[in-house]
């Protein structure tokens, strides 16, 4: 097997669903910016790219009609650059990178992009027309259960308390806020945001550049403690300790060793391995607690060998549980905002930065490889839970 090298990885800002900068921006426009951004950052010609694989959790309506083919064409890639959509819900973006990496590893191609795109403003979570199977919904409704309820289940079953979750949420915001101030989000490509507004008797379509994540906010643990539960009258999962629903896109350019030489570019990291594990649908959040050990076992590595982690914060409850299982929660030095030696979600996670479903896998990859480079971290792991009861995890190695 050949190695798959990551040459560049970028993302658009993540902006709040409905109220954020991208609420009126078509999903195609977001992914076009990411695709153009990644080739530009890599310094290669668009024509070099043979294939674009794109993750999307709800590939319908504006995100339908094989966005994976249409978006590269809109971005100015030649007709020879092919493309497809893949869907593994919240791991779709990572799945897309893995598929592109495999294609390179197997020798089926030399240059490919793995990407993700989701406008949760435009195509709602669950899709426009959710239609659970009637009999299955009557006998086994937990495959269709709301993600919030699964987070409550994790909290209840594994004794993750409200205080723990709110504290975790606070640190996510604090880390993101500090990273914004320090201009640490170098993986962001400024992205045009469309707005339609009524001015002087006319509706006008305007565009402005958006270059920051607009869900980051100043919080306190006490303030978060006052929020009402969002999914259960007696629950502990709130808007403040859950990921934000977000619009965004991200892309990673991968190459074979031959291609690196041919185009004379330097890689950042290798995409090493990818693992997916299953779990009970009604506690899907525990997925990473199974996927990461599976990945590490495959790689012959231990938790201690990993220098940087991007664990998607779908909900504080599930993220804390996964960290507990990996042994990187109890000691706050691993993750708290005031710890200089933190290694988990060092610039904050989805609670502050948002979770644009099918984009998240590609978004976190961009964040991770750029941080690995900055921190000179040898191994990085990205992982997330997946609706329906799965976890996915990928291993990156700095070159």
């Amino acid at each position: 097997m050949r190695d798959a090298y990551i040459v560049a990885a970028v993302r658009t800002p993540g902006c709040r669903r409905g109220k954020g900068a991208f609420a009126q921006t078509r999903p195609e426009d977001l992914i076009v910016t990411a695709l153009q951004g990644v080739v530009q950052r890599a310094g290669v010609d668009k024509a070099a790219v043979e294939e674009v694989m794109m993750g999307c959790a709800f590939p319908e309506a504006e995100q339908g009609l094989n966005l994976g083919r249409i978006a590269p064409l809109m971005a100015g890639f030649p007709i020879d650059t092919t493309g497809a959509i893949c869907n593994r819900f919240c791991a779709s973006g990572l799945e897309a990178i893995a598929i592109s990496a495999m294609r390179i590893m197997s020798g089926w191609c030399d240059v490919a992009i793995g990407s993700g795109c989701e406008s949760m403003s435009i195509v709602p979570m669950g899709g426009n027309m959710p239609r659970p199977h009637p009999e299955w919904a009557k006998t086994k409704p937990d495959v269709y259960v709301s993600m919030g309820i699964t987070a409550e289940n994790v909290a209840k079953r594994y004794n993750i308390t409200r205080d723990m979750m709110d504290e975790f949420g606070f640190h996510s915001q604090a880390k993101a806020s500090a990273a914004q101030q320090n201009k640490d989000f170098t993986e962001i490509v400024p992205t045009p945001a469309t707005t339609y507004s009524f001015k002087d008797g006319k509706w006008v379509k305007e565009s402005k550049m958006q270059d920051f994540d607009d869900g980051v906010r100043a919080t306190t643990v006490e303030g978060l403690g006052k929020l009402k539960p969002a999914f259960s009258s007696t629950g502990s999962v709130t808007a403040g300790n859950s990921s934000q629903t977000t619009d965004g896109a991200a892309a990673t350019l991968l190459m074979s060793e031959e291609a690196l030489k041919k185009y004379n570019v330097k890689p950042i990291a290798k995409f090493k391995m990818y693992a997916v594990a299953g779990c009970e649908p009604d506690e899907m959040g525990v997925g990473p607690a199974y996927a990461v050990p599976k990945l590490l076992k495959m790689a012959g590595l231990k938790v201690e060998d990993i220098n940087l982690w991007e664990l998607n914060e779908a909900f504080a409850s599930q993220c804390i549980y996964a960290m507990q299982k990996l042994g990187i929660y109890d000691d706050k030095k691993y993750w708290s905002s005031d710890s200089a030696s933190r290694i988990v979600n060092i610039n904050g996670g989805a609670i502050a930065l948002g979770h644009p479903l099918g984009c998240t896998g590609a978004k976190l990859a961009a964040t991770l490889v750029n941080n690995m480079k900055k921190k000179n971290a040898k191994y990085g792991v990205e992982s997330m839970c997946i609706g329906g009861g799965m976890g996915a995890a990928a291993l990156f190695e700095l070159v």
């Binding site: 239609r131 199977h133 919904a137 009557k138």
Partner: protein, 806 residues
């Protein structure tokens, strides 16, 4: 010139100004709401438009948040534009009607009218909502043209809900302007118009404040307590439960004080002038700022406190002798109150209160004898007729009967004898009336109502708008009631149109009515042309029909007679669908509470002509049931029947979910507009602002349909969402159950609702027969009665009025 109100302005954004603006907007009229620029602007705020509009913005926010709601729909708030009296004054020149509702200060009002005169467009009407200032003084210094278009329009609080609109013209006000505003107020704003004169406090507050002040006086001298008085003069006497003293708390004792002071000063010749000099304990209350509800810490006649130990609310009442508020026993009421509660008619209730032999009755008689005499002495001083005074008290104070109607109820001749024996000075006009052998203030002859006119010492017809039909008047002629049973009647309302009137308790639909519906339709088929389903039960908002007769079905269920319930529902379906497919036009005229069975009757009709105050919903889930009168079928039909043919319905869920939620969440509209927004009223259905118009308007609709060539609706198959809906609903129910948002039996019922409304186990988009849907509904209904939980829920709501969450 044809007068129109295309744009109105309200100046003053307090509770009354905001309320008037909200009513105008709810009636569809773009309205400019203005208030002053704050006096205390900081230098940096002086050019900031936001700061300059601070007062009007705050007033409008309060109006939008008011409870009960002043706007009928959130969307209507867009029709109100805000501004201030400095920067936006010019905008008044676009307005056809300008209503002044600023502080009750003559100089300020005079100055404002001076400014308005300089800018108003010719012919624009200007009015004041003053509750006491003389019109003549307010118009001083204005031109003749201004005075010709100037009058007082006095609304009552809360504006949307209180029907009274007192109109006071000046000597120069044009008749054309008066007629126009009266019609506008009645037809467009739905108000009850009473013509008052330029006398202090006009009619409602003159009579109302006299009663309150009289009660203050008597409280000092008689052996009676505050809650005893309020127990007698609440619903037991046909008055709102705020009665006398709680009303003073609600209005504010400071306001009552001003009104009384105003009366004392200006009413030098009033025979009860002394009563307006407030007793010492009231003056002491005023000095201590015990104004009532608006001074929560001090309270008023009543005070609510929270017991910190138990967190329970405790209500205390004033002892006028010590000015202290103490706890009291709410159940300790005068004996006459118990008797009044047992009485069936208002007349018997009022007799029970006034003519008992307990201490309470003695007080009550003294209060009412003086109030009745006071009212009689006010004709023609404040109103040319007794009708104006009765209307004002019914509409402005929510009394079920005005003073003269009350007098008729308790027997005029006998009560006058009692007054004379006790040394009361009976008014000359009453003596003259009785001497002429006229023993009642009102009488009904040949479907028309007459009042006794003191001026001519004879009866005169009460002339109302031809749009108004009063069933009570028509029914006085027994030949017009063509069929009747204890729960409903069929009344001939002319031109071949008949009215099916409910008159059971809360007009709940029972077996009598169900049986009667078919008969009524049949009778009209043979003897007439069309049917109106309407009634005129008293109360604010009143009940067109508050639901179905649960007691009857609960009895059957408890006896295990489920086959009888099944049979009953078959009859209900026959009755309801009989109405729907009758070969004659059927128009429902609902108002107020139109719930459950009442709502289902309306949904089956060709058309609904609804009063703007319509609280409509299918609330059966609260009683442990699904709707049993084809309500779910007809609601779903209404949801989808207006989709144009070429538009292919792909997303059934987009229609199904809101229709389902209406029933599963027992959504009740808080106005007719909201009922339309919820999908209960369709595009053909109409909303009418004046409650007295709805039967008349419904009758017009019947005749119009006939004129246009009426053809009864044909049975059509109905497309349903089928099993695809179940997947969605079951999955969502699973979330709700996990979130603790739904109780187990409610979940069972909600799922049955989903089955019924989606047409059961069929493929999405299947067109099914109505009979099939009726079977689903009937089965669900009977199945639920078989459960212990439904029986418990039904029993609970019957006894407590609240749903049992199990």
């Amino acid at each position: 010139m044809v007068r129109r109100i295309e744009k109105a302005a309200v100046i003053g954004s307090g509770i009354m100004g905001g309320g008037i603006a909200a009513l105008l907007a709810s009636a569809g009229i773009p309205t400019l709401l203005l208030d002053i620029v704050p006096f205390d602007l900081k230098d940096e705020e002086k050019n900031d438009p936001k700061a300059r509009n601070r007062i009007v913005n705050a007033g409008f926010e309060a109006t939008k948040k008011a409870k009960p709601a002043l706007f009928m729909s959130k969307k209507d708030t867009d029709l109100v534009a805000l501004g201030n009296l400095t920067d936006d004054f010019d905008k008044l020149k676009e307005c056809d009607l300008i209503v002044e509702v600023v502080v009750e200060n003559l100089k300020i009002k005079q100055d404002l009218f001076g400014r308005i005169e300089a800018i108003r467009k010719p012919n624009a009407i200007v009015s004041s909502n003053t509750s006491g200032l003389p019109l003549a003084k307010m118009a001083e210094g204005r031109s003749k043209e201004f005075k010709e278009h100037f009058l007082i329009t006095h609304f009552f609080n809360p504006v949307r809900y209180m029907k009274l609109l007192e109109l006071v013209p000046g000597p120069d006000t044009k008749k054309e302007v008066c007629d126009f505003i009266a019609e506008f107020g009645e037809k467009i704003l739905g108000k009850g118009i009473v013509w008052a004169k330029d006398t202090p406090n006009f009619i409602g507050n003159r009579i109302g404040v006299q009663l309150i002040c009289e009660a203050f006086k008597l409280l000092e001298t008689e052996n009676i307590t505050v809650p005893e008085v309020d127990a007698m003069f609440g619903p037991a006497f046909g008055m709102p439960k705020t009665a006398v003293f709680a009303l003073a708390d609600l209005v504010g004792l400071d306001t009552i004080g001003h009104l009384a002071e105003n009366s004392y000063e200006l009413l030098a010749k009033d025979e009860r002038r002394d009563v307006y000099q407030l007793p010492k304990f009231v003056k002491d209350m005023l000095a201590k700022k015990m104004f009532g509800n608006k001074t929560k810490d001090q309270g008023g006649f009543y005070k609510s406190e929270i017991d910190m130990a138990t967190w329970k609310k405790i209500k205390k009442v004033l002892d006028p002798k010590t000015l202290e508020q103490k706890e009291f026993d709410k159940k300790n009421v005068p004996a006459c109150v118990g008797k009044a509660k047992e009485a069936k008619t208002l007349a018997d209730k009022q007799k029970a209160i006034l003519f008992g032999d307990d201490n309470g009755s003695k007080f009550a008689w003294k209060l009412i004898a003086s109030a009745a005499i006071y009212a009689a002495n006010r004709v023609p001083e404040i109103s040319d007729t007794i009708v104006g005074i009765d209307d004002a008290m019914r509409w402005g104070y929510a009394w079920e009967a005005g003073p003269f109607e009350m007098w008729d109820n308790i027997g005029l001749e006998a009560s006058v004898k009692k007054m004379e024996a006790e040394g009361y000075k009976v008014p000359e006009n009453i003596k003259k009336m009785l001497a002429g052998g006229n023993k009642t203030f009102y009488k009904i002859e040949k479907g028309k109502k007459f009042y006794f006119d003191f001026a001519s010492n004879s009866y005169k017809e009460i002339v109302t708008s031809p749009n108004m039909i009063f069933l009570a008047n028509i029914k006085a002629d027994a030949s017009k009631v063509v069929e009747s049973n204890p729960s409903c009647s069929l009344i001939d309302i002319g031109d071949g149109v008949f009215n099916l009137e409910f008159h059971s308790k809360m007009n709940a639909i029972n077996k009598d009515m169900v049986d009667f519906m078919g008969k009524a339709a049949d009778y009209v088929y043979h003897n007439g042309v069309g049917l109106v389903i309407g009634n005129q039960a008293p109360g604010i908002p009143g009940a067109f029909s508050a639901g179905g007769d649960l007691a009857f079905m609960l009895g059957l269920a408890k006896a295990g007679k489920f086959a009888d319930i099944d049979g009953f529902i078959k009859e209900v379906h026959k009755g309801i669908m009989g109405i729907r497919y009758a070969p004659i036009p059927v128009v429902a005229a609902p108002y107020g509470m139109t719930l459950g069975g009442g709502c289902e009757v309306c949904l089956a009709c060709d058309k609904i002509v609804a009063h703007a105050e319509l609280y409509m919903g299918l609330v059966e889930i609260g009683a442990g049931l699904v709707p049993g009168g084809c309500g779910m079928i007809n609601l779903w039909r209404k949801f989808i029947e207006t989709i144009p043919g070429p538009a292919k319905l792909t997303d059934f869920g987009g229609f199904f979910v809101p229709a389902f939620m209406n029933v599963a969440q027992a959504k009740v509209s808080m106005s007719a507009v909201q009922a339309r927004e919820n999908g209960f009223l369709g595009p053909k259905d109409r909303i009418v602002f004046n409650k007295d118009y709805i039967i008349g308007e419904a009758k017009k609709e019947v005749l119009k349909m006939l004129d246009e060539g009426y053809v009864a609706p044909k049975k059509k198959k109905i497309p349903v969402m089928g099993a695809e809906a179940h997947g969605m609903i079951w999955a969502e129910m699973f979330n709700m159950k996990n979130g603790g948002y739904i109780t187990p039996h409610m979940e069972t019922i909600a799922k049955k609702i989903a089955i019924c409304m989606s047409g059961g186990d069929v493929k999405c988009g299947t067109e099914v027969d109505e009979e099939y849907l009726m079977t689903l509904e009937r089965e669900a209904f009977v199945d639920l009665w078989k459960t212990e939980n439904t029986q418990k829920m039904a029993e609970h709501i019957m006894t407590t009025g609240k749903p049992l969450m199990i």
